[in-house]
């Protein structure tokens, strides 16, 4: 999978390059808006990391240009700007996610992977978390290369937790995904499914773990490297 990093600060570009490469991505690095424009027009990237403060223009403008031109490449925006501005400005302009400097490179890698795991993303068909592999087309879950049998609702829950790996998935979102509006929903239906899913994963020796954020939802974490 090929990524573009648009970052003018050479040391940061270098570090991002190294981190993304060690995560098995092919990485191109450019330092200006012009170079980025050219790169986007030539290569169909799977995702991009875009710094907003560039020497020859504002990254936000570049982002808007791309979206107007119909380029849907998932973009993670990096910014040293205030969180407020970045959230409003960046997401309005078509960014898929943003990170405020200073950031941990591991976080950049995780966010890029999350973008790619979206349905339709380059990693959207085969999801991975720790030693769990989820083939979303075959609906086939493997833990440490052994097939794990899951009930339909359990696998749906796992899919959404894996798509948002490392982030909280609200219980209400899972409810929407699992049940139609007409379905009778018991208040503890989701917790019961999650409980069974968690047990099965532990029994199968999965090293990714489902955590409960009481009152909100659940999140799946990978083992710490």
């Amino acid at each position: 999978m090929r990524l573009l990093v648009v970052e003018d600060e050479p040391r940061i570009a270098q570090i991002l390059h190294a981190a993304l490469r060690s995560a098995a991505f092919a990485v191109d690095t450019v330092g200006t808006c012009d170079d980025a424009r050219e790169a986007f027009s030539v290569v169909p990237y799977d995702a991009a990391v875009l710094d907003l403060g560039l020497p020859d223009g504002d990254g936000i403008l570049l982002l808007k240009e791309l979206r107007i031109a119909g380029n849907r490449v998932p973009i993670l925006v990096l910014t040293a700007r205030d969180a407020v501005e970045a959230r409003v400005g960046g997401l309005d302009a078509g960014a898929d996610d943003y990170l405020v400097k200073p950031f941990a490179t591991a976080e950049v890698v995780a966010r890029v992977k999350a973008l790619l795991r979206r349905p339709g993303g380059a990693l959207g068909t085969t999801l991975a978390a720790g030693n769990i592999i989820f083939d979303t087309i075959g609906r086939d879950v493997r833990v440490a290369d052994r097939v794990l049998q899951l009930a339909r609702r359990q696998s749906t829950i796992l899919e959404h937790l894996m798509r948002r790996l490392g982030r909280v998935v609200p219980k209400s979102v899972l409810e929407e995904k699992l049940y139609g509006y007409d379905d009778e929903l018991e208040s503890n239906a989701i917790p019961v499914h999650v409980h069974h899913l968690r047990r099965k994963l532990i029994d199968a020796g999965a090293n990714a773990e489902i955590h409960t954020v009481r009152g909100i939802g659940y999140l799946l974490t990978e083992p710490r490297s």
Binding site: S22, G166, I216
Partner: protein
Amino acid sequence: MRRRFQSLQFQLALRLALLYVATTAIVLGVLAYRAYETAGSLHDRELSLRAEDLAGSVVRDSAGNPQLDLPPSLVRAYALGAGADIYAIRLAGGRVIAASPPSFADRINGWPAPGEDPSYFRLPGLGESSDTYYGLSIALDSAAGPLWVSVAHAGEAKTLVLSLLWEFGNDLTWIIPGFTVITLAIGVFAIRGGLKPVRELSAMAATIGPHTTSLRLPEKNLPSEIAPLVHAINHAFDRLEKGFAVQREFTANAAHELRTPLAIVTGALDSMDDRGDLANLKRDVARMNRLVEQLLRVARLDAISLDVSDPVDLEGVAREVVSTMAPWVIAQGRAVALAGSDGPVWVSGNEHAITDAIRNVIENAVLYSPGGEEIEVGVGPDGSVAVTDRGPGIPVSDREHVFERFWRGAGLGIEGAGLGLSITKDIMARHAGSVLVEDNPPGGTIVVLSFNLHGS
């Protein structure tokens, strides 16, 4: 005590009181002098009139000899004995034709002839009377030819005057102090009234602080004596505000500029092979990152004036904060939960500031509560957020310090920058809300942030 002496009221009262004492003394002195003078001349006129009366009563008898024929009322007046007025009438030449008492006739023999203008005399002890007489002699015409008339009155003019003065003085004793008190009261009230705007200014000045540098003291309706002072103070505030702005900008810029090099160091450390002290180094850099981030938040908070009037769903904000922080909290080996209200709780405030306030308290709870205990964030329908941990708790003696910038509890690890709770307190103050530190009965701490419900 010194303050009392410096008070305008006291100084005015003191000076006015001195003025009244001095004025009273001078007025009394002048009055006494004038009274004496007036009394003296009255006395002289009285005696002159007496002399004329006496001269008018001298007639010639059938033998042609001049003799005194007083009306009965005057006879009685002159016959009162000791203390009564005395007189002697001589013919031009010296022969006494009438005298009362008769002993006066003996004394007056040999006195020189008086002129047309009265000549005055003093006559000590006459007969059985020990009084001193003061009187006048004058030459007058009468029906019986030219006469020399001498009239005298016992004692000086003083007695009458003294009694008059005494009475007058008695009245003054009451009037002057009363008048003094009334004037002082008017003075004091005038000053009080005049200084009322100053007291209001003081109250207003007391609210001016680092966050309210744009406030200025009103210069309207001030006594003209104070207006220049207030004007000068406002100018001083202008200059201070500029200084503050420069400082804030500097802090914000410095923190902002530190982000890029820190991002480089952080990234470089992340990409290094794990060996030796790398984990420690990463922790140090993480701490530095937090410090810079918080410095920037402080600077940002100092620099902007928050609009805290928006309706904000406290439950939604708390939910967002807990969701965002959950991965980090779990990575620290803790758990976090949202509890309390089921639906939205609308408070007045600024969403981003409230987010910061809650996040800082959760961060603090995570950093300072060891063990895998759950941190609970409870939203109350009264507009409060309670963050409960099961940590060691905060000693009562430290509770007032936890909100100070750069304060950290003794022996509690070194990760925090010591800015988080001070930022939270700032934010709560800007929201006219409150932040309370309480004991969690089973152990640990509850930090309660109370906002104002929207529309209340």
